[in-house]
């Protein structure tokens, strides 16, 4: 049994959804962790959920990185603990320097909520190890600023280190400008850090864990981390 720690910033609004996916759908343990807390309550995996932390009136995630719990999250990540940032959580990881790059406004200049397709590029992370390489997942996005940007040399390094974990594709898994919903550089939907234990992605796998909601393709991401923890591939307790 793995324990998911779901960080709650003021303005987080997908915290319930991540908790529900972990606890009710996967049958794992889950804990909410308030952003002012200073310990991770024994979490085996940390999720930074979607939402608008602190209202995101400044750059998305720019204030959340200063929340007290982020020191613990960074330390947990440094010990090799698996950390998943979803949507706003991804933005927070970028602002906190746990992942490289930044987010621009969507190419459409509008918030977009819809199902998209992402291709799993790498399976040697705790969040993709149960996936097949090249597997196409149908998962929703819901963001206004998900247009990933980094300097060309940073992108080149990410590619060389195989840190691009998810890419926007069409349903057949082919790169296609029309299938890149927000204009992200190199169609990047998600990436990992050097050590591969910190993963951020803009799409919401927690919204795609039950077929009644239109797709259960996101479940494999949560199953991956449970598998990686129980198989002993990762042993870093908070």
């Amino acid at each position: 049994m793995a324990t998911f720690g779901v960080i709650v910033f003021p303005g987080s609004n997908c915290d319930h959804d991540a908790y529900h996916a972990a606890k009710d759908v996967l049958g794992q343990e889950a804990e909410y962790i308030w952003h002012k807390d200073t310990d991770l309550k024994g979490a085996d995996v940390v999720i930074l959920p979607g939402g608008f932390a602190h209202g995101d009136y400044l750059r998305c995630g720019a204030m959340a990185r200063f929340s007290p719990i982020m020191r613990e999250v960074a330390a947990f990540a440094a010990r090799g603990g698996p950390v998943l940032g979803i949507c706003n959580g991804f933005q927070v990881l970028l602002e906190a320097g746990l992942l490289p790059g930044a987010m621009l406004r969507n190419r459409s200049l509008k918030f977009q909520c819809e199902h998209v397709h992402v291709r799993v590029e790498q399976t040697d992370t705790p969040f993709t190890l149960a996936c097949a390489r090249g597997q196409v997942l149908r998962i929703p996005i819901a963001h206004g600023e998900g247009n990933y940007f980094a300097d060309p040399d940073v992108i080149a390094r990410l590619e060389a280190n195989r840190q691009v974990i998810f890419r926007y594709t069409n349903a057949a898994g082919e790169l296609d400008a029309a299938a890149n919903p927000n204009g992200s550089a190199s169609a990047i939907a998600g990436l990992c850090n050097d050590a591969r234990n910190v993963v951020g992605l803009m799409p919401h796998p927690e919204r795609a864990c039950e077929s009644a909601l239109g797709s259960a393709d996101g479940l494999v991401i949560f199953e991956s981390v449970v598998q990686s923890l129980t198989s002993g591939a990762l042993v870093a307790r908070a």
């Binding site: 303005g11 319930h16 909520c113």
Partner: protein
Amino acid sequence: MMDPQVLERHGLKPDEYERILRFLGREPNLTELGIFSVMWSEHCSYKSSRVHLKTLPTDGPQVLQGPGENAGAIDIGEGLAAVFKIESHNHPSFIEPYQGAATGVGGIIRDIFTMGARPIALLNSLRFGSLDAPGTSRLLEGVVAGIAGYGNSIGIPTVGGEIAFEPSYAGNPLVNVFCLGIAKASDIIKGVASGVGNAVYYVGAKTGRDGIHGATMASAEFDDKSAEKRPAVQVGDPFMEKLLLEACLEVMRTDALVGIQDMGAAGLTCSTTEMGSRGGAGVEIDVSLVPQRESGMTPYEIMLSESQERMLLVVKRGREAEVERIFGKWDLHASHIGEVTDDGFLRVKNRGTVVAEIPNRALTDEAPVYRRPMEPPDYLAEVQRLDLESLDAGASTAPGGASIAPSSNAALLSLLASPTIGSKRWVYRQYDHMVRTNTLNTPGQGAGVVRIKGTDRALALSVDGNGRYCYLDPYRGAILAVAEAARNVACAGARPLGATNCLNFGNPERPAIMWQFARAVEGIGAACRALDVPITGGNVSLYNETDGRAIYPTPVIGIVGLLEHADRVVSRAFRKTGDAVILLGEGRGELGGSEYVKVVYDLVRGVPPAIDLAAERALQLLLVALADARLIRSAHDCSDGGLAVTVAECCFDTGGVGVEVSIGGVEVSRRAAVNCAAALFGESSSRVVISAAPESVRVVLARAASAGVPAAVVGRVGGTAIRIAVGGTDAIDVPVDECERAWSTAIERYFAQKVA
């Protein structure tokens, strides 16, 4: 004696001022005059509408809370309550579309969580001028962005709604927002102040000079100087509201609270007087203790400000520290600004000196009530005449086309491409409609459906109105609006349980408008009684006029229905090739007030379709039973554009699967072409297109027969075209792809150049 100009600026009539003098037994000071003016404004007092609203049905075994509170509530089983309401934000949205719409969303959400319910779904009903007209796209873009900006940020999904475009709304768009929340039935909290000595707390955003006299503005017509009223529109802060929402729900889980109310229209004035009035108590506050955003604010300004995201709470004596601690956790400061008293007065002090003292009942129960004169509008007799013989069903859409078939194809494509009928994806893609992972039917599939976690249940929600019908016949139009909203909910498989209404009309001081209002309310009452959906609350928005031209009378109805088994939900699109297509109900070829007559002939004429409410009720109950027995695979009601548009819409989002349908003809004119159009595009009510597996057909028909609902197999799902024959003659044959392209770009194409 008060300067008449001061009275006029406050929207108070001389006889209303006399009434104030009688209540106070003296001249009011300016602060008191301001308080009277907002509380007696149409927006807060319902002075023109009240006598009519009293006739609406509001009772039923399912009703836990009827009108009069912040929102209504119905029993949905398993100890839970659905708390919901619809409200307008028309005037602010015209003046400043983004903030007007955003703060409308913020206001309705507060009304819901104030009742102790967690908000779980939003809908909206929007009306604009023609999309071709200058300025409409800007208004639409601003309103949608405002709704999205607020709802997305606070994390409540927008799961459905409706949008219509008619020139009548060009100078006065309608922005009606609906919110649904879930509470434990036993834990519903009310907006009451009681218990002498209990503390009155203020929580949330600081008070500024924004929105002063917003309620008064919402009670006046627009003219070319309306832009000067911009400062009366408030600015929304969804993050502050998110904190308030979470903190208030946490406070409500204790039993430290006596009552709570949001500060919406008329701000601190309305919340203090209404809470006192409901609790039969008085409230005394000191405005110097109210957190202020600007310096030098007068008691008048503080009492009348409509700054957003503010709540008023009455806390049990001795429990103050507990409540303050919870707000502190969310970095909110709860300010103790006064006490509950036993004298029934609203007493406002400033640093201890009384600056206003008014009996609550003078501001609430004994506010003026008008039985305004009514008289049928002059235009009615003329517009109700629709001469079908003069319609040339061939010429308008297919110049040079001699045969009927091509013109029916063209008419179908024109209707599908009309923004009122076309896909609203451009709009709802901007709304987060999935957050909270409960949305079973997303926007564009009919009623929005949200499941209730922890139970097997789900709720279906729909908001509907039809201003054109109501313009042609407000009584029948209102009945049709209630019926359509309830039918949409039933199409999802849910039993309609309760209703809320938002009544958008022109200037009630004009007898023709008042007549429209009264007739529409009678229609709503008749329909709600027959369909067993009591009205649990709502909102009235009058003075929707610009330069003396009123909008179409537009009652918008929100209906909530219950699915006992969430997994039996039904939606619009056909599911499987080979399934039988069944038409429930009967077409009578009624073209009066139809989208067809408007789009093809640019006419708004005729009498709206007739409706038999008993037959409608039977149809709705049948739909619920069929869904519950898992006998149907899709259901979609016939409304704008008639059967042909409905059948086409059932083919969309299926990956291009078509349909072949054959229906009987109708005889409404001497001309064959008109009869054909009437069969295809007539908007006869109480009709639903369902699809069912071939092996289920016999049972479906038998169930329909025993329910007394006309039902006939009219076709089969399959192929890649939409083919419809009328009276044995092929009338429509268009590839699904072509139809879907027309439909899906209906709104998008107005913004195409701006989309990367």
